[in-house]
Symmetry: C2
Subunit: 242 residues, 2 copies
């Protein structure tokens, strides 16, 4: 087999290797203050028209992988610089019945109130509660399950939860987010102490005016500390919750 490789300089190609379709599929998480949500596509195109799926697309010939991920997220949300993270490449032979396609799967976290509604509408995308999501095409159900697992893992060790909240937020809001992610109640007092001990939050001096009872302090993330302490957030959630 190796004798053929001599040809590569002439042809500028690897001979005898199969080129395969490369897709990207993205699990977009959002949080409405109560529930964890997914931005899902009601497909108005083939294949599997009429069914639900993740947002995806194909990697183009002259496009960096990371650029493709950003492009797909931009087309869906109208946002740039979204937090996203590759989770796995799905590569079973029959996973897409149309044609052999591998899919590089990633999850993204966005502020549900900040994205462009028109972009979502153009893609026929809807926010669906994670808990009562519909069945998805192909192996997209497995992708969502894995994404949730990875989100739980990562959010226990690093301060990525803030990506799902607005610029200014209260500690009770942050707690409700973590309770949604781990689907478990957390002790208010211990949660607050733990969060404040990270020194990642800056008191804006403002209070949440939406509240109907006692108004909570609005904080914002200390972005410099967020960068430098990204790896020092460990042990936020106990093992048993992950």
């Amino acid at each position: 087999m190796r004798k053929f490789y001599a040809a590569y300089y002439i042809m500028n190609k690897y001979p005898h290797s199969t080129r395969i379709l490369v897709a990207l599929d993205c699990i977009v998480f959002g949080f409405d203050g109560e529930e964890l949500k997914l931005l899902l596509i009601k497909r108005n195109f083939e294949p599997e028209k009429g069914k639900w799926s993740l947002m995806g697309g194909f990697l183009e010939a002259d496009e960096d992988l990371e650029v493709a991920a950003n492009r797909i997220l931009y087309d869906l949300t109208g946002l740039k610089d979204i937090y996203f993270e590759e989770i796995k490449t799905f590569g079973k032979v029959g996973r897409d019945p149309v044609e052999r396609t591998i899919s590089i799967c990633f999850f993204a976290l966005i502020n549900i109130h900040a994205h462009n509604q028109d972009s979502a509408k153009a893609q026929n995308a809807y926010w669906i509660n994670l808990k009562n999501r519909p069945n998805l095409i192909f192996d997209h159900n497995s992708m969502v399950e894995l994404a949730l697992e990875k989100l739980r893992y990562k959010a226990a060790l690093h301060p990525i939860g803030f990506e799902l909240l607005p610029e200014k937020f209260t500690i009770p809001q942050l707690q409700r987010l973590y309770e949604a992610i781990y689907d478990t109640p957390l002790d208010r007092r211990n949660f607050s102490r733990k969060i404040l001990s990270t020194k990642l939050l800056i008191d804006t001096g403002e209070k949440n005016q939406n509240s109907t009872t006692k108004k909570a302090i609005l904080y914002r993330l200390d972005k410099e500390k967020y960068q430098s302490q990204f790896n020092a957030f460990h042990n936020f959630i106990s093992d048993s919750m992950i």
Copy 2:
């Protein structure tokens, strides 16, 4: 663009999408009792003949991604059921100058004494100390750096270090392994207590006869507990070491 999708049933193909070469590249870690090592290829084939690279291969048309990873590892080591983990897909446009190729990168942990020497010889593979590895082709240097980062992260939270040791091992051996992974000295007494508190080790009743001083107890891994407690190993190494 979407009007073309109607064609997919007839052609059994997605029209207007680019098929791309899909490679897999593997960082194989080993431990000789002193140093962390990599199994690297001295290339006796084009392209970049004569230079050093990771072991790799192309995904075939009718091959599951996971099967391909196992095939590549088997060709290199003669071993099956190796512990491996996907770390990232490298997909910059020009990363392989011969032809657009994305590479799904993963790392593997093997017992350096158990693999098949002939298999390695057939691939022209050599064990090289991680610390004084040669320059590698393409983006393989970045792959190794990322693999080390991921190994450190994972090994701090889960008991994967055992994959690098022989069936029977001593606690001092295990400690030297962790010291090699994190490139830092660890306190012998705290290390021992922490490891034993996991209850993952079973005393074989034997002692290490290789030692020139006091002979250490040989342990083996409790594989059932290893499975069930894989996620309960957290906080083994302190954050600052990762």
